[in-house]
Symmetry: C2
Subunit: 129 residues, 2 copies
């Protein structure tokens, strides 16, 4: 018996129609898309990069300087951010300048920063790094 079949059969606590309705609302595909977007924002380095770029346009080396990490590490992250279309790269001479593509992301990001700063000024429940 597949999980799919179990899902339809084994519901005993909510009525089946509600579960059936939820199963159609919560489709896997958009869940993956949403998770992918959040995944990009789920790393302190990328968060810092986006934070910095929300203040100024910066090149790869400057980002490394601002964050205090290697240029290679920045470059790897920029590749990811570019792939996910969160930043745009513009080459000028031998430098590559990055800026945020999307104002929507800016808002989501700002909202979350505010949320974190308001709701838990001192407690921190996340994992160790």
């Amino acid at each position: 018996m597949t999980l799919e079949e179990r899902a339809v059969r084994d519901v005993q606590h909510v009525d089946r129609r509600q579960v059936a309705a939820l199963r159609s609302v919560v489709d896997r595909e958009s869940a993956v898309a949403v998770a992918d977007l959040f995944r990009v924002l789920a790393d302190p380095t990328r968060v810092s990069i986006i934070h910095a770029l929300s203040v100024a346009e910066l090149c790869n080396g400057d980002l490394a300087a601002v964050l205090g990490i290697s240029e290679s590490a920045v470059s790897h992250q920029m590749r990811e951010l570019r792939l996910m279309k969160l930043v745009t790269a513009e080459k000028r001479g031998r430098m590559v300048y990055y800026r945020l593509t999307d104002t929507h992301i800016r808002h989501i990001f700002a909202d979350t920063l505010r949320h974190v700063q308001e709701s838990s000024p001192n407690q921190h429940v996340g994992r160790l790094r």
Copy 2:
């Protein structure tokens, strides 16, 4: 020479004051806090759970039925979501009912869902799972 020292020294493209200013704006601690919050939302299963709970209050087994995964898997995820204070658990008899704690998260989540559905209806650039 530490990365910290490099950071102050090696800046050649932006003026040093700007980088110094950015270095104070982009502090590691809140970057980690923001990333931690996003990390919770960066998994398709947890996204689906939050999506389902934004529609109805559900117990562990129902969530398993709705998502089509094992109760154990759900329970593991609920522990995380509880730790991060995104959901609240309420035990009634032998069932544990979950609901979303925070309306702020609801908004961030809804924003992002809308963003994903609007901005990239068909393309998908994320990793395979």
